[in-house]
């Protein structure tokens, strides 16, 4: 048992830092650190820089254009990126659809889609939840009827998806669709890749509680999808869907991001004043910081334990639910404490201050504007990716056999 980083790992960390110092654009890290709105181009720019370095897909094996890094290397990379305030690499392509294409897609799909994901050429979004199918995902209804035709088979897709993150920017959407209504509902689901430019697709914004447009409803009306865009076998999509959700959950732990939030929280607590002393000298508040730091220390080691045990070849198991539960709770606590540190300056709502171009005078401290919105927005983390109640069901059933 040795919890220290080896000298190779330390050298690796130094290499990642050198790269971030040299190549992470200051305007991007400034936006991330300041809690400003990121545009499509910001995410894409960073992905392209990573790709030029050969680090576009640190969680992929080398045969598909990834780095082939082990769990510890990935952890170090994510931690350093978060600490440097690099834009998050969105998971929909890299962490969600890509592992499914690698594991269950055909050679043509792998050759076409994977390079475009790692290069930042294609933006992917997710078509899983439906208005009537959230936690009970397997009840989904969006129909895909297979049509046999001489110019090539295709599906006609009709229905509605919801809780679609950033689909307004997307080139492609991966969807769970119903291809059969016979037998168990899990056995009639297929996994389809759909070009967002296809006629019949409408994206409608859903405004979140922080006033931001982050999610959408996506409507499909007689959308024609080539049969070659089916991943794996027809009616086997539920297996792929569960495989994908396991990958989504590990990303959700977000240890690196939490460490960065904790650092910012401590800095804030030194600047905010209470009783004419820095807030961090207030025992009650400092204990709250200390408590969340304990949780985070535990999660970091648990995360490494789970990832190491899985190795590179296996899909994440039900243990990833532990990471999702604790990671989401810690993110919520950190964003809540950052808002709480502001005192009454949690009240002002200045959405214009979230624009990178805004040159107005802040109300209160210069870091104040995004923090209440972040707290509100982060309530989503215990809901998405399978709500924490569902995660507990998974642990109860899959690990404990209850």
């Amino acid at each position: 048992m040795d919890l220290n980083f080896t000298s190779e790992e330390q050298a690796f960390r130094a290499e990642v830092r050198r790269f971030l110092d040299a190549r992470l654009p200051a305007d991007l890290s400034g936006k991330v650190h300041g809690g400003k709105r990121l545009q499509k181009d910001d995410f894409m720019r960073w992905q392209k820089i990573l790709h030029q370095q050969g680090w576009g897909a640190t969680m992929w094996p080398t045969e598909f254009g990834g780095t082939g890094w082990n769990a510890v290397q990935q952890h170090i990379f994510e931690e350093e990126c978060a600490d440097a305030c690099a834009p998050m690499q969105l998971p929909f392509g890299l962490r969600m659809v890509a592992p499914v294409i690698m594991a269950f897609g055909n050679k043509a799909q792998q050759d076409y889609f994977l390079p475009r994901i790692v290069s930042g050429e294609d933006w992917w979004c997710q078509g899983y939840s439906e208005p009537g199918s959230g936690s009970d995902l397997a009840s989904l209804k969006m129909r895909a009827e297979r049509v046999v035709a001489t110019e090539g088979d295709h599906y006609i897709v009709t229905g509605q998806k919801t809780w679609n993150t950033l689909g307004q920017y997307a080139d492609w959407i991966f969807c769970l669709v119903r291809t059969s209504t016979e037998g168990r509902q899990q056995e009639g689901i297929s996994f389809l890749l759909i070009d967002m430019k296809t006629p019949g697709i409408t994206v409608r914004p859903i405004i979140m509680l922080d006033g931001e447009h982050e999610i959408n409803e996506v409507w499909f009306e007689d959308v024609k999808v080539p049969a070659q865009n089916l991943v794996g076998q027809e009616n086997k999509g539920w297996t792929y869907a569960k495989f994908l959700l396991g990958h989504e959950r590990t990303g959700i732990a977000g240890v690196g991001r939490c460490k960065r939030l904790l650092k910012d929280l401590k800095a804030m607590a030194r600047r905010e004043m209470a009783n004419a002393r820095p807030l961090i000298e207030d025992q009650r508040f400092r204990d709250r910081i200390a408590q969340v730091e304990l949780e985070l220390m535990a999660l970091e080691v648990t995360n490494l334990r789970v990832l190491s045990a899985e190795g590179k070849k296996h899909a994440p198991g039900p243990e990833s639910s532990i990471l999702k539960i604790k990671g989401s709770e810690i993110q919520q606590t950190l964003t809540e404490l950052m808002m709480q540190a502001l005192g009454q300056y949690a009240l002002p709502w200045l959405p214009e201050a979230l624009d990178a171009d805004w040159r107005g005078v802040p109300v209160g401290a210069d870091y104040a504007a995004p923090l209440s919105g972040h707290y509100f927005n982060f309530r989503k983390t215990t809901i998405y990716g399978g709500s924490n109640e569902i995660q507990k069901n998974i642990i109860a059933q899959m690990i404990l056999g209850l």
Partner: protein, 380 residues
């Protein structure tokens, strides 16, 4: 002991309930929150007609001689309706301050105007860097002839832009955290040198940063004795905190109703999600927390009028800490039980959640009041 409202109080409650269901629908409120003022002056006139603007004032000044329990009843209903009109700032805070500390002339000039709906007011007291400390006042008031000259900046002044007159605290002597030396001044909204930067708040209301650059007031602008305003401000802020507890209870009760309805109607896995025990228990926790909060809010209301400052502060801090914790728990649970529907702007769930969050951040959050209460254990 009697925990029941009397007939008059029940009638008032009923009237307000009808007003909210008829004139304060969710879409109507949304439109108001987006309007320039952030509230409706028509509603304000209706409030005057209903008598709630006159409620806590003596009959001699056009009031209805109501007590803090009456105010609590009103605040609870305003909480149910997520009402945006500046009742707390004008009636509870400033009306209360004038009623308790104003001269005969000031009471005659201001209380009937508030009661009649002609005058909106705001208290500009807290400052950046002072957090929730009532004694932190750096703004200065320098004697100048028969009057004073005010300089400084006030933070997050509720309804600061809507107010026709402001009550502003400033130091006539001492250092920023001294107990003595704070004075209160009545200042016109358009006084030369006074600038108001108004903004929307997270819960759809309005607040403002107020800057004072050589704002000149006459000697009769002083409210109460010079340099002795801290106990007046503390009393007003306690009164406001007690009122906010009642508002939070109203909001929590309404949010519980909405959430319970969702548990009964939203179906997953072939049954209403309210059939799942994990969710049932969470809903029960919300109801228990709300009942406990209601008890604490009642206690605070009964003690808010107490002449014994220690007794008052003990009850109010206990209530504001407890209600703040409950509001946080209930708000977060309601969002979680609604799933994705809890984090969208379209449903009122997130709006109740945001209001409850901001109530906690106003006039001392749960940790602040827990600290005050805890410190009182040492003194006892």
């Amino acid at each position: 002991m009697d925990f029941n409202y009397n007939e008059e109080q029940l009638a008032l409650q009923d009237t307000l309930r009808r007003f909210i269901s008829k004139d304060y629908g969710f879409e109507q409120r949304r439109a108001l929150a987006k309007s320039a003022d952030g509230f409706s002056r028509d509603h304000w006139r209706q409030f005057a007609d209903l008598g709630i603007l006159a409620l806590p004032f003596p009959e001699d000044f056009g009031g209805l001689n109501g007590n803090a329990v009456d105010s609590m009843l009103v605040m609870e209903m305003l909480g149910r309706g997520l009402v945006l009109e500046p009742y707390l700032a004008t009636v509870i805070l400033c009306g209360g301050l004038i009623r308790d500390n104003g001269s005969q002339v000031q009471k005659e000039a201001l209380l009937p105007a508030i009661a009649g709906g002609e005058l909106l007011m705001a208290l500009a007291h807290y400052e950046a860097g002072g957090r929730y400390e009532t004694r932190h006042v750096a703004t200065g008031a320098k004697a100048d002839g028969d009057g004073f000259v005010l300089n400084g900046t006030k933070a997050v002044v509720l309804a600061g832009a809507a107010a026709g007159k402001l009550i502003i605290s400033a130091r006539t002597s001492g250092a920023p955290n001294d107990l003595d030396g704070i004075s209160l001044f009545l200042v016109e909204h358009n006084a030369p040198g006074l600038t108001v930067r108004s903004y929307a708040t997270q819960d759809g209301a309005r607040a403002a940063e107020i800057n004072l650059a050589n704002v000149r007031v006459t000697g009769d602008a002083l409210i109460g004795a010079q340099g002795a305003a801290l106990p007046m401000v503390e009393r007003a802020c306690d009164y406001a905190a007690a009122a906010l507890c009642a508002e939070a209870v109203g909001a929590m009760a309404a949010l519980n109703e909405v959430t319970l309805e969702y548990l009964k109607t939203r179906k997953q896995f072939g049954q209403p999600i309210g059939r799942f025990q994990a969710l049932q228990h969470r809903m029960v926790d919300m109801v228990v927390a709300t009942e406990q909060a209601r008890s604490m809010a009642t206690l605070a209301a009964v003690k808010a009028d107490s002449a014994d400052a220690l007794e008052r502060r003990r009850a109010v801090s206990a209530a504001k800490a407890y209600v703040g914790q409950s509001a946080r728990g209930v708000g977060q649970a309601a969002v979680q039980l609604h799933g994705g529907m809890g984090v969208v702007d379209e449903l009122n769930v997130s709006h109740y959640f945001k209001r409850l969050t901001m109530i906690n951040a106003t006039f001392g959050d749960a940790d602040h009041h827990l600290g005050l209460f805890s410190d009182m254990l040492l003194a006892a």
